[in-house]
């Protein structure tokens, strides 16, 4: 009983595969190269898949083959002078942090999970709580190696003037397979964060805290209670963090760069679909608001600050088998306040509760053709799957498009090609590069076919 082979590699059927949101799912066929030189496009349509942490259909390719990069995750070279770490693209931020934090280096940009691959971080051009200061992931990539459709390996970088880099950063894997990434790390003195929480009573206060230089910090974000309405609409907790300095730590800590090891606990089972409803989420929000709002200034391990949910493996099971939908949009500064107000009113009115409603101010837009961030405000929501949700989200799309904003591809599973085109005006430039490096359309995904980016 030997498996079928594609491109010399055994294949595996992955039935009902989804993204992290477990919606939508499709049947996929995958290969998993174990040697670096085996990392090649296979068959008529390929797509690299790393840790599968994008939420929707970005890492699915039901009409072709997935190339799993999880075994090509080796850390290759570190230069303490420049702080540049070169690694295979299947390596995760968790791998980098485990090896480099004890040496005094941190990842320059991180999303809300460390279990994502470097290749995935570049392909989605991810952002973190420091976007307003440090930009997206690609702003810290010194160079990337990409395996193109013809099998050629090309090193591209922001400096070499090639458009391949800016098509690959945010390009959702559609230009080729990212095989190696050279990432410029950030020096730190401790593994601890100094965090300040401030309660905001309404949307104006929340936005005020996010934009006021007096309250600014390297890492800022606001958690919103999106069931609050009326005068309290947009109330929340503003969270600002800095890497702590050694003299700010208690004296008993021996090595400021080491944290006590903690094993993630698995989420034990799929919660039934009804377990999360407006009543339980309202209760959660009230408790969360009270607990977090009472904390003013405190120290905490970087893991608790950046990755509160990574402590529970498979937390997406909380939403049950039907999964959930992540929705994240950004609106430009000029319309951000008005548009966000309209969206929060709609959420509150339709009682579409969300555990994690996170508001963040973005800094200037980067050069990636399909990169998500633009200067303004971004709101991320996760909403348990329910009847009528699609229509509701179409309504959100309309508000976002009307205000000149866009929706994040790494979290999307359902927007229309029309909404996508309206939000990403540099699509034409992206498609030109794609046509040049992938003329036969050998790289595609369920997302690219849905949005008309590629076959």
């Amino acid at each position: 009983m030997t498996p079928e082979r594609v491109g010399g590699l055994p294949t595996k059927r992955l039935e009902g595969l989804g993204g992290w949101g477990r919606f939508p799912t499709s049947d996929n066929v995958a290969v998993r190269p174990e040697k670096f030189r085996q990392l090649q496009p296979v068959g008529a349509s390929s797509l690299a898949r790393g840790m599968g942490r994008s939420y929707g259909d970005a890492a699915l390719n039901s009409e072709g083959t997935l190339v799993l990069t999880e075994r090509l995750d080796r850390l290759l070279e570190f230069d303490p002078e420049s702080g540049v770490l070169r690694a295979e693209a299947g390596a995760t931020l968790a791998d980098v942090l485990a090896a480099m934090v004890p040496r005094g280096w941190f990842v320059p940009v991180t999303p809300g999970t460390k279990f994502c691959s470097l290749g995935g971080c570049l392909a989605a051009d991810v952002h973190g709580k420091n976007h307003h200061r440090d930009g997206t992931f690609s702003a810290h990539v010194a160079a990337a190696e990409v395996v193109l459709a013809n099998g050629e390996r090309v090193v591209c970088s922001p400096d070499d003037g090639s458009e391949l880099f800016w098509a690959t950063a945010g390009g959702m894997g559609l230009t080729g397979i990212v095989s190696e990434v050279a990432l410029r790390l950030t020096p730190i003195e401790t593994a601890t964060m100094r965090v300040r929480h401030t309660v905001a009573r309404d949307l104006d206060e929340t936005i005020g805290l996010l934009t006021d230089p007096a309250h600014d910090a390297r890492y800022t974000v606001a958690w919103l209670d999106c069931l609050a309405s009326g005068a309290r609409l947009g109330r929340g907790v503003y969270m600002a963090g800095e890497h702590a300095r050694p003299e700010e730590l208690p004296l008993r800590i021996e090595d400021p760069l080491r944290l006590a090891p903690k094993r993630p606990k698995p989420f034990p089972f799929d919660l039934p679909g009804w377990a999360l409803n407006p009543v339980t989420i309202r209760a959660f929000n009230a408790v969360y608001n009270w607990v977090q709002g009472r904390r003013r200034e405190f120290l905490c391990p970087y893991e608790a600050f950046f990755y509160p949910l990574d402590g529970i493996h498979g937390w997406n099971r909380m939403y049950g088998k039907r999964g959930f939908v992540q929705y994240q949009y950004v609106l430009p500064t000029a319309t951000a306040r008005q548009g966000t107000k309209e969206i929060l009113e709609l959420l509150s009115r339709e009682r579409k509760a969300s555990f994690l409603a996170v508001l963040k101010r973005f800094g200037p837009e980067g050069p990636g053709f399909l990169s998500f961030p633009m200067e303004g405000l971004t709101l991320a929501l996760d909403i348990p799957f329910s009847e009528g949700l699609e229509r509701f989200l179409d309504g959100l799309d309309e508000i976002v498009v009307a205000h000149g904003g866009r929706v994040y591809l790494a979290k999307d599973s359902r927007m229309s090609a029309q909404t996508f085109r309206a939000g990403y005006p540099r699509l034409g430039e992206f498609l030109e590069v794609k046509a040049a490096v992938d003329p036969e359309g050998r790289f595609g995904s369920d997302l690219s076919r849905r949005l008309g980016i590629g076959r």
């Binding site: 009983m1 030997t2 498996p3 079928e4 055994p10 294949t11 595996k12 998993r32 174990e34 040697k35 670096f36 030189r37 075994r71 080796r74 850390l75 290759l76 070279e77 570190f78 295979e88 791998d95 485990a98 090896a99």
Partner: protein
């Protein structure tokens, strides 16, 4: 406990990589031996960066049995001493092809048994003379009972397990410990895409079990743990019944 140099034979195998990382974290320097130069170099860089240990790639061809003696002597002269030897090379092969094509059958038998015995005999002489150290060899649960679906691989691993029993007995007089590892199916390149494998274990977890068993000077390790029980049941089934199964 001393943390001397460890030689890993077949270091690019899925389990060996994480054994190397776990040993590096314990402070051993590592000599990573195998055929694939490019992969070994990448692996050595990775192990060094993840663990801070010194890791060096060395070319080694398990099937060049006439060269084992010189390979080992050369390694000892470069490393100074060798504290432990991990044998991790092996070849699953294709049972059905092996039944038709002797070259495939022979490759399975030689890579899993003959070559392993050859290099272990060389290493054993060195460790015996030194009077300390350890050997850890990856056999398989497949060697515990012959099955129609993989008796070529299984019989070679059975040979290896029996060889290790004898070697353990011989070397214990010199203070050298021998660990036989019998992993169940592990999620590596060897098993990717094979249909319906029960309890497929992640290689990191198996590697952690292995390194803990080395520390504790265990004789035989089934990993993951349930395989000890499963194989005890398997071995107890009378042959006249077992032969009729389609396993």
């Amino acid at each position: 406990m001393t943390r001397g140099p460890v030689l890993i034979l077949g270091a690019t195998s899925g389990i060996a990589r994480w054994v190397a990382v776990a040993l590096g974290q314990r402070g051993h320097s590592l000599w990573l031996a195998g055929r694939d130069r490019e992969e070994l170099e990448r692996l050595a860089q990775d192990v060094s960066l993840r663990t801070g240990a010194v890791a060096t790639a060395v070319p080694f061809d398990a099937m060049d049995m006439d060269g084992h003696e010189a390979f080992f002597a050369d390694l000892v002269s470069r490393a100074g001493i060798v504290e432990g030897v991990v044998l991790a090379f092996g070849y699953l092969g294709e049972q059905e092809r092996g039944e038709r094509d002797w070259r495939e059958a022979r490759a399975i038998l030689d890579q899993n048994f003959t070559a392993a015995a050859s290099v272990l005999l060389v290493a054993a002489r060195y460790l015996e003379e030194r009077g300390q150290g350890w050997v850890c060899a990856l056999s398989s649960v497949a060697g515990d009972r012959g099955r129609m679906s993989n008796y070529l691989y299984g019989s070679a691993k059975a040979g290896l397990s029996t060889f290790l029993q004898g070697l353990r007995s011989r070397l214990q007089k010199s203070g050298v410990h021998v660990l036989t590892v019998k992993p169940g199916p592990v999620d590596t390149g060897m098993t990717f895409g094979l249909p319906k494998l029960p309890l497929l274990a992640p290689p990191e977890r198996v590697a952690d079990d292995i390194v803990r068993a080395i520390d504790r000077r265990k004789d035989v390790l089934y990993t993951p743990r349930p395989w000890a029980l499963i194989m005890a049941v398997f071995r107890a089934v009378p042959e006249r019944i077992f032969k009729k199964t389609r396993l």
